[in-house]
Assembly symmetry: C2
Homo-oligomer: 439 residues x 2
């Protein structure tokens, strides 16, 4: 008998790699936070003597979900600005509130709220893009959540920085200290969009990204207005500007990519750009519907994100998977497009690839970190079960998430948070709401 820290026995296990595979009654052995074996449950019990045995007889075990794009602290603005398209939503609904309210304290409280919401929904890793990224990193470390910390770069002042040089200097600080070696924290550059980035700042950004070997993520081709404005101001589409700046390469994650020409899809494919698809946000702001199946057919790596809570209004990756699978079909005019297994892959392994974390997470494979999510199918809305993957994507809600492990730590156990005082976090959010609504 071999010892291990944890042995999880699940009715079904969907490892994601290989694609569209369902393992019946399997055991997953974990030691030192890593997956050490994936094997039939009978064999697992015969071979392993676990410190903890977790038996989940009606459940499906999947890789922890990866939210490839969010603005976590915006949970505090959830439902604050309704019924506006992106440009007005930003200028009239969001930016005035951000100017007034964004602070280290607000980012800490909003991000913690978001992390708890995501953990409860089976998310084990998120890629963030917000002000005070050092506070986002600290909140993620506090709550033991894996995070890619995107550091904003802009040419206009916000409560975090006054100009592009200050954004870049602060971003560089974050790369070096104090999270450089933390196993759960990575960082990248996150310019808002090409229309908020001058030529000069873009060039500085590229040099820094190269020097520091950091990835870049940017809102790109989210709306027709964004493209039209950039063409008017610069004579180029945002993608062309980004190309000229030398930022189009395999380190780039283009967030949204709703409005794409055939040629641009080909360029994404050739250069290895990943896409973070945020379907609900794109619907809510009436931005459009991204051509996901066409992207997949072109060989583009498409990840999935919720965007911030102010334009969604939840950080619910199970719901986002469902929306992606449903919307992908109607966009492609093909009921076979974006099948359930592909939506799950977008929400796990493709996310890991887009963030450069696929050696570590994104699938249930020996050697990877034990970032795992367990979903209980024994609910009235997900019975009976013919097809566990279809059931997971089309019929399950986040409330069915029973267990979540991040790097082997059992963060959600039988539906309960093990490490977090949720009521304290909720109370802080209510206090923010009262302050913000009173103005």
């Amino acid at each position: 008998m071999q010892s291990c820290d944890i042995l999880i026995q699940a009715r079904w296990c969907i490892p994601v790699e290989p694609d569209n595979c369902v393992l019946d009654n399997h055991g997953i052995a974990i030691s030192d936070g890593r997956i050490v074996a994936v094997l039939p449950a009978d064999d697992a019990r015969a071979q392993f003597s676990p410190g903890v045995l977790v038996d989940r007889p009606d459940h499906v075990l999947i890789p922890g979900l990866i939210n490839a794009h969010t603005h976590a602290a915006m949970t505090l603005f959830r439902g604050l600005a309704e019924g506006l398209p992106l440009e007005r939503w930003l200028r009239e609904g969001i930016w005035p509130h951000e100017q007034r309210w964004v602070s280290a304290e607000m980012v800490r409280d909003g991000t913690k709220h978001a992390i708890v919401e995501m953990l409860r929904g089976g998310v084990t890793c998120f890629s963030d893009q917000y002000f005070f990224p050092e506070v986002v990193a600290s909140a993620a470390v506090d709550l033991h959540m894996r995070a890619m910390i995107g550091t904003p770069v802009m040419d206009f002042p916000t409560p975090w920085a006054q100009n592009a040089d200050e954004y870049l200097a602060k971003a560089t600080d974050l790369v070096h200290d104090p999270y450089a070696d933390h196993s759960l924290i990575s960082s990248c550059f996150a310019p808002h969009a090409t229309d908020a980035l001058s030529e000069e700042s873009g060039q500085k950004l590229r040099v820094l990204a190269d020097q520091l070997d950091r990835r870049v993520q940017i809102h790109l081709h989210e709306t027709a207005t964004e493209i039209a404005t950039t063409v008017q101001d610069h004579g180029q589409r945002p993608f062309e500007r980004l190309s000229e700046l030398g930022l189009v390469n395999a380190s780039l994650m283009a967030v949204h990519a709703v409005h794409m020409t055939e040629e641009e899809l080909q360029q994404f494919s050739v250069t290895g750009v990943s896409v973070a698809h945020c379907p609900r946000s794109n619907l809510k702001l009436a931005s459009g519907i991204a051509p996901v199946q066409a992207m997949l057919d072109a060989g583009i790596n498409v990840a999935l994100g919720t965007d911030g809570a102010a334009s969604n209004n939840v950080l619910d990756m199970l719901g986002e998977m469902r929306t992606a699978a449903l919307l992908g079909k109607v966009k492609a005019d093909d009921a076979a497009a974006v099948p359930a297994s592909t939506a799950l892959r977008m929400a796990t392994l493709n996310g890991a690839i887009a963030l450069g974390l696929d050696d570590e997470v994104g699938s249930i494979e020996v050697g990877k970190s034990a970032d795992l999510t367990c979903v209980d199918l024994n609910h009235i809305n997900s019975q009976p079960v013919y097809d566990p993957i279809a059931q997971l994507v089309y019929a399950c809600n986040r409330e069915q998430v029973s267990d979540v492990w991040v790097a082997g730590r059992h963060q959600v156990e039988n539906g309960d948070l093990t490490q977090v005082d949720e009521e304290e976090i909720l109370q802080r959010s209510r206090e923010w709401q009262q302050r913000i609504a009173a103005v």
Copy 2:
């Protein structure tokens, strides 16, 4: 002090009529299954001496949700046929299973499963269209659920009837007996679609509907293929055929109505036809996106339905509201289209109008039946609250439904079913799954 059976105190009450109205801290008094008063909570406590006081301090109280279109028994086929467009889904995925498995027993078990799923999700009334409608009615009565029982009419044989005359005769029986006077049960004619209806059967149907004063609901313009086939076979679009049969009037509910010309929208408006919009089913079968805001602008009454569980895959009206609100925006290219309050109205009062039940249900108004749903907003995904209607539509899941009353009977209380043995129903569904999957 006036006595009443029940007094519900809720943090927020959204009566739906008037539109887009949120009442803070209100009380709803109920006697003999009817709403007798809606007033500020302080006044309610001063005026009423209730048999039962239900205090819901973090909750929003809304009219019970009305699922305007489903095939309830198809819960037993949930996830059975994935990745097919409507016509192949029916011919290859669904009809062979229906020929083999549909029986009074199957319809009873599948419908009970559906009713429990819907009750848990805040639905208090559903409009059904399936074989053995007398069994559907009986299941609804057993579980104290309001239902509009659509009786199928077709020109081809199924396990329920052999030809149109038999369908019509059985439908007529149902109108008269034994549910003619049951307060929860109504019935209507539910021909499948114009392509399954001969000229002769259509005429008989119209005569019977007139004689018996019964409404008609039919799948109409669901897919481009349906329209093209009908044009090829009959030289007319389905709507034109239906017009010629004399079936286009204020008693008609057109289910789906995805592909509509301007002229057809005008005809719907002029004649008073209602629409049952089923957005998730339309996405999943890649049927298309119905022009909901254009319908509303034309003055058409648009209700909301889930369709059956085999093409959705859940009977979740909160989720359907969210999808309708999100999808309506991108279809109209306008972030202000189909606001949250409109989606809620579609799922309540508009449904009642479409079913001819708006004197009885669909809004929280004195004199109407106490069909009510309470949703707990005190969850991590729906805090903080700036806008209770936005929160309900964009952020809440069916698991947040705390209480449901149907005609004043407390069917779901604090998240628990009060009258139903859910495990017994689930067990039967699992047994059906084993039989069906074994073939």
